[in-house]
């Protein structure tokens, strides 16, 4: 940032008066703002991290559709918040959350699952989806919200809401 400012000053000194001060000030301000913004991204989410978050979200989707919760069990946090359409809500250990979800999809058999919103380049990646399922022969649909949180170098599923 400082280097950019120096460059601008240098260029300005060498330009003729055709380059007026107001213009210089505007350029400076722009550069300063850009610098602040980019430096605020000091804790940048890398592409790899974003891809990993996306992988977990998609893994969750396929696990639900296939009825195999153990596909994403290891991605569950040690304290995962669940809020499900069958009334179950609260914090569960990862093993318990896995079993609760397994029980849920046994009764509410998923048919379709589509993300309509997914944001992975953020500190708390999340996805919102539509899920269609059948329960006792009747088709129903719900909204799904799933969010991740950082756990060391990995992501963990911290919340699953199916309502």
């Amino acid at each position: 940032m400082l280097f950019c400012i120096y460059l601008i000053i240098l260029i300005n000194r060498n330009l003729q008066s055709a380059m007026n001060n107001r213009f210089t000030i505007r350029i400076l301000i722009t550069f300063v703002l850009l610098s602040i913004i980019t430096s605020a991204q000091g804790y940048r989410i890398t592409i790899e991290q974003a891809e990993e978050a996306e992988r977990i979200l998609l893994n969750f989707r396929s696990g639900l559709l296939e009825g195999k919760v153990d596909k994403f069990t290891e991605d569950l946090d040690s304290k995962t918040y669940l809020s499900l359409a069958n009334g179950v809500a609260g914090y569960f250990s990862s093993s318990q959350a896995s079993n609760v979800l397994q029980d849920f999809i046994k009764t509410n058999i998923p048919l379709e699952f589509e993300f309509f919103s997914m944001k992975t380049r953020t500190f708390y990646p999340f996805g919102s989806a539509n899920i269609k399922y059948t329960v006792k022969g009747a088709r129903k649909s719900s909204q799904v919200f799933i969010s991740l949180k950082p756990a060391g170098n990995a992501w963990k599923i911290s919340q699953i809401t199916i309502n």
Partner: protein, 1274 residues
């Protein structure tokens, strides 16, 4: 035939039949499925018709009940009115006591005359209801739909209308324990397993969807009052059900087949001689059974209950074999059977065996190396399991103060107890096996070795924990567990405690250990919950808030009645907003939110909010609403406290006409978590930030740049404490734990950095528990375990009643029961009385405080009242200034409430409580406390008749909205009483046991001494060092025994003398007889010789013959007397040497010597005279005592066909010169001895074919061995 099908063959036949049935089911299933498929069309019509018929029948029944009830009430009301002496209060009393389920209202001239409970109809317009008189119909209020009946009553010239209604459908849903669900629609859905929709209006239409079936609800007057529509049974669901049913049948048969297989091989396994091989078979079978149950998903497929709900408890153990409390129960029950089998193999079979293990140092050391790690792993396993019970469960075993837990928690308590019991069984058996291999036992060296092993286990345990990353449990619990194990092994070996008693000890010890562990891990969980709370507080980020708002709007959009309030003549936007809130995701998320209806111009029409201050409400000018039919979600920033709000706005249209807008706003403000109180009947039972600990007990602090910027707590934090928290070392995960002392109380804090840019730290803290809480938590579960143990004991006694029917309570037992009864019963009564009294006083305090508030309100209003002041404004000002929530009624109707919104919604009734109305209006009472209810939440209201400006009003202040602080809440009182009194009970039991032992021990001493005397041991002498009557009694006893001994000796001497005299007389007499003829014969011979008789030769022959005859006679006489002088006859029978030794040992229990009997044998049967054998042992022991021995040991072992009983003492020994004479009769070295003791011993033993031998004798002691033939060889 019967004999052919008995035993294993019977079970084998069952097995074959079961397998055939499984096969048959497998063949039948596709046939049935195909048949169903082919005939589905006709079947679905039939099924639909059946469901319709059943629903109509259900409806008719409801109608009949309501109608009959209404008719009965009408008749009674008419009778009351016809009775001229009736007063209106009697009518109130009558309808108030009739039936709580039905709401009754009586109108006269369109005014409400009397009512009970809730007044459903706000007002009665005859013209509106004209065509419903005498009919049943559905009446809809804002929140509830009622099934009603209107009747006209004409009596005594008056015309009244009786409106009876019962609630049938609630339009809202609350997620808390007070909510009483009510939905006929849901009832039908659950009953018929298909989705139902019930439309409670006469305008409802049939569904056009071909997949659904509709039918009308026609009342008894032939009018349509509603429509029921249900999803037709679907083929896929029906086929799925068939497949599930067959799967269940085949699973059940498969399990049954496996059980039969076990029964088939049971006898063969029992006959295996090697106990360890037998155990392996049993263990493998039971483990396989568990796996099969798991594979068939039994019992989850059959039982659908809270016990099979993994939300209560589930663990990853063994790939999910324990995924619910019931799975846990089955697993631990089978594991218990395996542990029992192991214990029996290791301990019981060992002691019964005639070929016990051959101990050696080599085996002992190998055993030590193998057993110690296994032992410690078992302990670690127990710790890990208990940890899982706490951490992998949503059950909070310690949070709720209820003594009797709910079913899932009760089952988990049982599981934990059984797990602890299993651990003790296995560990005790392991240590027992180890000790059996020790070559040094039953001696001082053996005791030292035992202690050494104990210390070795403790040290190994310490090292084991030291080298682990995460040790399970605490050092204290490990020490206690090892101590208990060794104590039980000692009881098993040295005290020969009965198995039944031992199992009882195991059970209580297991309870103690597991409760301690549960308590420990629960404390860990509570600390962990601080972390969860911190994450919950930062969880609602903007993404989630947007999702919640979107979701709530979408759910509202799907409600076909969304437009209703805009269209209604008397719109109630508040109730509609409340319904939207209660049926949406908003309620579940426990965050501040508001649901509002607005008109075209965005003006506020009405709404419902929770934890949402009015200052955060959207400005109509800034409301961002689209007109094109889409939702608009946006962020709003409030200037007030800088709170963030996410708003969503959606247009509400009917066809294409815009009616208005629905606005949903959610707020996240940490300080609002404690700011605005939510009434208990609306609070969310789920999560609520933290469900491990009461939220009110938490301290929540927020720091920014080392300053405290926000807190939820009444406690003040000092600057040094703030500095400690802000400067704490955070880990890689930006968290830390901190212990702090605040106001002399210990607190534990969890610190979390929440902002990566600024140094924002969130701290969540909890106070460490005090003694009474810790005691309560311990005894709460110990009490439940004790109940389980006692019930099991009772069941065992009932099953084995024959064995126990001759059991008699000892004197000590009677004393103990008496002490316990005398101490505990009054204590319990006192506790109950104290509790009732405290509760009563607390209630009085509450009513007093409520009363004072009511009077304060009246006084305040009256003090500011004057003609220019608006009364409503003044009343609002009173509520604001006094910070009191109250309501005011006039003539039975509500005129003001500070919590008006709950009345507007319809959760609270605007009609005055009928009991209060009756009391005030008709009985002239001025104040009254009423117990009331919203849903199932009970509260108290203080009603007070006051005046405002001369007009009569009724002021109501209740504890539902006004927090009244009392010294002891019900919960705190229960905790305190239960904790302290439980400790007192334990102390009473201990002290009573000690006292009972002390009082009964002299009696026991006397009993044993009496038995010894009865057995013939007159050398016994009791210690006279006693006091009081006992000293006189003991002295008397000793004197009696000495006298008895003297008398016995004298009698024996006298008898001996008499016997000798008699015998001498007899002998003399008998001898004289043959001597006389002998004398005569000799005299005859002498005479013949002198006379020179010629017959001398014949006389000589005759005389010599006679003399020889008489000598023969004399010889016979001598033999007979010799036989007669022998000892009395033997009574030979089968006796158990072990029992004889045990009983003999007991006779010397009061002697000041160490007398030990040891044997590996459980029984040792020989053929002998019981009394003589016992007397022999008594003689030998008595001799040792008289030889100044202080340690005498008896040991019994088997040596081929003989039993060798060795008596060893450390007395003075037998001098070598008299060694050979000691067994001779009449030989004695004692001054007062008769010299018959050892002689009798020798004779007794030899009489039964045994031998007695002095092995060694020296100044260090004597060893005598009796060798006796075992029964089989006799």
């Amino acid at each position: 035939m019967k004999n052919y099908f008995s035993g294993s063959r019977k079970y084998f036949s069952f097995l074959i039949i079961t397998l055939i049935l499984i096969l048959a089911a497998g063949i039948l299933q596709p046939v049935i499925v195909q048949n169903k498929n082919d005939n589905w069309n006709s079947e679905v019509s039939q099924l639909s018709a059946e469901i319709e018929s059943s629903v109509i029948q259900n409806f008719k029944l409801k109608e009949k009940h309501t109608q009959d009830f209404a008719d009965d009430v009408a008749d009674s009301v008419a009778a009351y009115i016809n009775n001229r002496s009736y007063g209106i209060e009697r009518l109130f009393n009558f309808i108030g006591g009739v039936n709580d389920f039905y709401n009754i209202q009586i109108f006269e001239n369109d005014s409400l005359l009397a009512w009970n409970s809730n007044a459903v109809l706000k007002y009665f317009d005859r013209s509106e209801f004209a065509n419903r008189i005498g009919q049943s119909f559905f009446y809809e209020t804002n929140l509830i739909i009622y099934f009603s009946h209107l009747t006209r009553i004409d009596a005594n010239g008056r015309s009244l209308f009786l409106f009876v209604s019962c609630p049938i459908e609630k339009k809202y849903d609350l997620i808390n324990k007070y909510y009483v669900p009510l939905s006929w629609q849901t009832e039908l859905t659950e009953k018929y397993l298909t989705e139902f929709n019930v439309y409670y209006t006469s305008n409802a239409q049939f569904s056009a969807d071909g997949r659904k079936h509709s039918c009308e609800l026609i009342n008894s007057n032939g009018y349509k009052i509603g429509v029921v529509t249900f999803q037709k049974p679907s083929l896929s669901f029906a086929l799925n059900e068939i497949q599930n049913t067959f799967y269940k049948i085949q699973s059940a048969l498969g399990i049954l087949a496996f059980l039969f297989l076990g029964m088939v091989f049971r006898r063969r396994v029992s006959s295996i001689s090697n106990k360890y091989v037998r155990f392996m078979f049993i263990a493998v079978y039971l483990a396989a059974l568990r796996v099969i149950l798991f594979l068939f998903e039994f019992p989850n497929t059959i039982i659908k209950s809270e016990l099979t709900n993994s939300a209560y408890f589930s663990s990853v153990f063994a790939n999910g074999i324990v995924r619910s409390p019931f799975d846990f129960l089955i697993t631990v029950s089978l594991f218990l059977l395996i542990c029992f089998a192991f214990f029996r193999s290791a301990v019981v079979a060992e002691t019964d065996s005639e070929n016990p293990v051959k101990p050696s140092w080599y085996k002992f050391v190998i055993g030590l190396i193998i057993i110690i790690p296994i032992y410690l792993l078992i302990l670690r396993g127990l710790g890990a399991s208990i940890r899982s019970v706490i951490f992998d469960s949503t059950l909070r075993y310690f949070r709720d103060p209820d003594l009797i837990p709910e079913l899932p928690a009760a089952v988990m308590h049982l599981n934990v107890l059984m797990l602890g019991f299993c651990s003790l069984l296995v560990t005790v058996a392991l240590v027992y096996i180890l000790y059996k291999y020790s070559p040094v036992k039953y001696s001082l060296k053996g005791i030292y070795l035992f202690l050494f092993i104990f210390l070795l286990f403790q040290s190994a345990g310490f090292l084991f924990d030291y080298f682990q990353k995460q040790p399970q449990g605490t050092p204290i619990i490990r020490i206690i567990f090892v101590l208990l194990t060794f104590l039980f092994v000692y009881l098993l070996i040295a005290k020969r405690t009965s198995r039944f008693q031992l199992y009882l000890y195991f059970a209580f010890a297991a309870s103690f250990v597991t409760v301690y562990m549960l308590n420990f891990y629960n404390s860990e969980l509570e600390k962990e919950s601080l972390k969860t709370t911190a994450f919950e507080l930062i969880r609602p980020n903007e993404n989630l808030l947007e999702f919640i708002v979107t979701e709530a709007l979408m759910e509202a959009d799907q409600d076909n009645n969304l437009y209703t309030p805009f269209d209604a003549a008397d719109p109630n936007f508040e109730a509609s907003a409340f319904k939207i809130w209660s049926n949406s995701v908003l309620q579940g998320e426990s965050i501040g939110c508001e649901v509002n209806f607005r008109n075209h111009d965005h003006e506020y029409l009405g709404g419902f909010s929770i934890k949402f201050d009015n200052v955060f409400r959207a400005d109509p000018n800034n409301l961002k609403a689209h007109l094109n039919g889409l939702q608009n979600i946006y962020h709003d920033q409030s200037i007030y406290r800088d709170a963030e709000i996410v708003r969503g706005v959606m247009p509400v249209k009917m066809e294409d006409d815009l009616l208005g807008y629905l606005e949903i706003s959610v707020l996240y403000d940490i300080n609002l978590l404690s700011g605005i109180e939510v009434p208990p009947f609306l609070s969310n039972r789920n999560s609520m930030i933290n469900n491990t600990v009461d939220f009110d007990k938490l301290i929540i602090l927020e720091f920014s740049s080392d300053r405290l910027i926000d807190k939820i707590s009444s406690i003040n934090i000092s600057q040094p404490q703030i500095e400690l928290m802000t400067s704490a070392d955070l880990s890689q995960n930006n968290e830390a734990w901190l212990n702090l002392k605040i106001n002399d109380e210990d607190y534990r804090f969890y610190l979390l950095k929440t902002d990566f840019e600024e140094t924002k730290i969130l701290a969540v803290g909890l106070k460490e528990k005090d003694v009474s809480w810790n005691l309560f938590e311990f005894f709460k579960i110990f009490f439940v375990h004790s109940l389980i143990i006692l019930l099991t004991l009772l069941a065992t006694l009932i099953i084995r009643i024959r064995k126990f029917k001759d059991y008699r309570l000892t004197f000590r037992g009677q004393l103990l029961i008496a002490f316990l009864f005398v101490s505990i019963v009054p204590m319990v009564l006192l506790a109950v009385y104290f509790r009732d009294l405290t509760e009563e006083k607390s209630m009085e305090a509450i009513f007093y405080k409520l009363g004072k508030r009511a009077v304060s309100v009246e006084e305040y209003i009256n003090s500011y009242l004057h003609s220019t002041v608006n009364l409503n404004t003044l009343i609002e000002k009173a509520a604001f200034d006094l910070k009191i929530d109250f309501s005011i009624y006039k003539k039975g109707g509500l005129v003001y409430s500070s919590e008006q919104k709950y009345f507007d919604i319809g959760l609270m009734n605007e009609q005055l409580n009928p009991i209060v109305y009756n009391k005030f209006e008709n009985e002239g009472i001025l104040e009254f406390v009423a117990s009331e209810r919203i849903e199932n939440y009970k509260y108290h209201s203080f009603y007070y008749k006051g005046y405002i400006g001369g007009s009569e009003y009724i002021f109501v202040v209740s504890d539902i909205f006004n927090t009244i602080l009392i010294p002891f809440s019900d919960v705190e009182l229960d905790i305190f009483l239960f904790g302290i009194y439980s400790l007192a009970v334990i102390l009473i039991i201990l002290i009573s046991t000690i006292l009972a032992n002390q009082i009964s021990s002299p009696i026991s001493e006397l009993t044993i001494a009496t038995k010894s005397v009865a057995s013939g041991d007159l050398s016994i002498e009791l210690d006279e060092n006693k006091t009081g009557e006992l000293k006189i009694f003991v002295k008397g006893f000793n004197s009696m025994v000495k006298q008895l001994k003297r008398s016995q000796a004298e009698l024996a001497e006298l008898e001996r003398e008499t016997a000798w005299k008699e015998m001498a007389k007899q002998v003399a007499h008998e001898i004289k007889n043959p001597l006389t003829p002998m004398k005569l014969s000799i005299q005859q011979l002498i005479a013949a010789k002198k006379d020179g008789s010629p017959k001398f030769d014949s006389i000589f022959e005759k005389v010599t013959a006679t003399v020889i005859d008489q000598i023969e006679t004399l010889k016979n006489i001598a033999s007979e007397f010799s036989s007669f002088a022998r000892m009395p006859g033997l009574k030979v029978e089968d006796i158990d040497l072990v029992k004889v030794c045990d009983e003999t040992i007991n006779l010397f229990s009061q002697e000041k010597i160490k007398l030990v009997f040891s044997s590996d044998l459980r029984t040792a049967v020989i053929a002998a005279d019981y009394d003589q054998m016992k007397r022999s042992l008594i003689n030998l022991i008595r001799n040792s005592i008289q030889a100044d021995a202080s340690n005498i040991s008896l040991s019994l072992k088997k040596d081929n066909d003989f039993y060798l009983l060795t008596i060893t003492d450390d007395g003075d020994g037998i001098p070598a010169e008299i060694m050979e004479k000691v067994f001779d009769e009449n030989f004695t070295t004692k001054v007062h001895g008769m010299g018959l003791g050892l002689a009798m011993v020798k004779r007794s033993i030899e009489n039964v074919g045994g031998t007695v031998k002095i092995e060694t004798s020296s100044s260090a002691g004597t060893t005598i061995t009796l060798k006796l033939i075992s029964k089989a060889e006799f």
